[in-house]
Symmetry: C2
Subunit: 191 residues, 2 copies
């Protein structure tokens, strides 16, 4: 495996983001990313399947965080509370480095292929969330409904957070969006 | 433009679906699809950019139907009623030819690239729905929230419809899923 490369994954991800933002995703090669991180191209491909995947470095961690938060929720918590707590945990994590999240979002938004991959990753997060809810004894289709709706609310809240010019509270925006959805659904006209 | 080809788009889409189901998406060429429909390859590419796009022939019609139903909704209708009516209209249309929808779903589900494209098309439908809601004077982020949630409910309802062994009522499943989500959101624990 060659010499020890402390936090190679994180360094490669950071280098990729810097180069993608500076010179564009299309124009950047894996070799350049590796060089920028002070690593070899071989090391790059030991950590990532391709240069798209570097941008989704965080998705695996996001999935683990969602699943763990669902599993750790108190036994009596309602599905909405459980899903809300897991999405807010993710929001809290993203908020730790808003500039990096913003840079990544700009790179992904500028490329159709990356936007498609992003949607696939969000769908996978919804799947994992549904699976974790089933693990708590929640039945179908309630688990899938709670998970898909949760990810939909997260998408809207995230976009709103990104559109704020200054610092904004992502977990707070997630809570507010959920409240807004609850009110919207409660005020339908009588059938 | 050559001779008149009555309903060439529809014939190509039907031929593609038949061949994809019989011999697989990967193994089928645009030339084979054209031949099966009694048309030339040139005609194929006049109607579709590639062999993936043939499977998304219905998405444009779906978008038009959603947008038109939103625009035609009575002035006093709530956002949930408007979104519900448009999704149920789409459900009614899909239900007209359930075997074709089932065949298409099997082809798309079996291929990762097609699943990604499907997610991109669903995201585009959510965008169009949000735009139509803004056209009715609904503000952001409510419009996006209603649209994204609507598409999330539709996805779950559609999967449930597909999993039913016999004939099932898709608009009814969409309504039931919306009701279930409403109840779920109403029964959160006190903060």
């Amino acid at each position: 495996m060659g010499r020890w490369e402390p936090n190679a994954r994180g360094r490669l991800a950071q280098a990729a983001l810097t180069l993608y933002a500076e010179q564009g995703f299309e124009k950047t090669t894996a070799a350049e990313i590796a060089a920028h991180a002070g690593l070899t191209e071989r090391t790059f491909f030991r950590h990532f399947a391709d240069k798209r995947e570097v941008l989704f470095y965080g998705t695996e961690m996001a999935r683990d965080l969602l699943v763990r938060t669902v599993a750790d929720s108190p036994a009596g918590a309602t599905p909405v509370d459980v899903v809300g707590a897991s999405l807010e945990a993710l929001g809290t994590q993203l908020q730790e480095n808003p500039e990096r999240v913003r840079l990544r979002d700009a790179v992904v938004s500028a490329n159709a292929e990356l936007r498609e991959r992003e949607l696939a990753k969000l769908a996978a997060l919804a799947e994992a969330l549904a699976e974790a809810l089933r693990g708590r004894g929640m039945s179908e289709p309630a688990a899938r409904l709670a998970a898909e709706t949760g990810i939909a609310v997260f998408k809207v809240a995230f976009a709103r957070w990104m559109s704020e010019p200054g610092p904004a509270d992502l977990p707070g925006i997630i809570r507010a969006s959920t409240d807004e959805l609850r009110k919207m659904l409660a005020t339908r006209a009588a059938a």
